[in-house]
Symmetry: none
Subunit: 214 residues, 2 copies
Amino acid sequence: MPIHIAIAEDNSFALSALKKRLGEYPDLDIRLVARDGKDLLKQLARNSNIDLVLMDIEMPEMDGVQATAEVKRRYPQIKVVILTMFDDDELLFKAVMAGASGYLLKEDSATQIHQCITDTLAGGAAMSPAMAMKTLNLIRQPISLDNKPQDFGLTEREITMLTQLKNGLTYEEIATNLHISYHTVRKHIENVYRKLQVNNKIEAVNKATDNRIV
Amino acid sequence: MPIHIAIAEDNSFALSALKKRLGEYPDLDIRLVARDGKDLLKQLARNSNIDLVLMDIEMPEMDGVQATAEVKRRYPQIKVVILTMFDDDELLFKAVMAGASGYLLKEDSATQIHQCITDTLAGGAAMSPAMAMKTLNLIRQPISLDNKPQDFGLTEREITMLTQLKNGLTYEEIATNLHISYHTVRKHIENVYRKLQVNNKIEAVNKATDNRIV
DNA sequence: CAGTCAGTACGCAATTCTGCGTATTTATGA
DNA sequence: TCATAAATACGCAGAATTGCGTACTGACTG
């Protein structure tokens, strides 16, 4: 049985390019094409026998994120894959939260597109390494959107020190780990304290954590 | 500059197969080979100038999950990629939580391995569609896979100490706050350290926080 | 009533941390 | 090319922390 696909894409050029690549695979059947989120929902209402939607994220009337949320609300069994031009982490993340199962870059090859579709229908998710990392970090350290992190102008090395401090290491241990002298570790941490305006390890680690520096 | 790689793998057959595939790429420099987690840590202590560890998940002495956690604790800058024979979601997920950046199947091709390593060092994560989906679901509905808090038998007073420590106070300040002597504060904290099995403030606060004591 | 536990208190010795100097090298940018 | 920033390194002095003793009191418990 072929896979029933819907496409929501307002750019006719991108749309025909996409249709051409999908046409290479006889197991993919494009059942429905919409030019924006509203249009997609209207058409789905008449024909919801769709397995997967390829959804442009930038559309007039109703954008990809809203449309994804609505599609998943009404037809939870339909998978949504986001189509995007670039690797816009913020927007993609919103879409994933809205229920998208993954995404494709518009310049991806026919093979990649096909792979992504089959992976998705098999219950998996498709994402780039960068998105995957972002996702893992979110699990390890759930976001709290309350206060926006301050920038204290810490250098890379100084942040390394904070990471080590957070793990409860002594100056001596940090020095050994990083192959630098005890004195250098101290100087870095001294600078961190000044920049964060604190006077001991715990306050430094707390402030760094609160501001998502570590 | 070549990428400095460490391998932890107890099976000598798998090891040589892996080395052979890595050998195709001149930018990969295998600096260190260990036969289990303990061995790895010992060798890293002498040579932590390593960018990435390829870590077998099944090893004697110290398994891949524990070893990953320990490597990331001591050397946060080192990336860890898990080597596994199959797609064991549960175990891999634990490893990722322990700090692993992704994983490789042992039968992956040289190209896939190289790609995974470069993706990882570029700050991304490598994971299969199945794992990616699992991860997304965890974010959408936090099942909080976290370990059930342990009971360390702390007294009320000892928990008070931890609260004060968490705020970055010195023993002297705590004593003043609670109207007890400096010596008493010290004794309480000493007892806390023994019960939590830690040796300094930061580790105590971390452990207390992880176990929702404070 | 004897034993245990929590909380209090003190001392000694060793280790670790913190503040404030100075100074060199390397890289980057005006 | 001169200035600046980042990373490195060292010393001194004082403050804080940690480990390991001891010891007393009150409350609760078998």
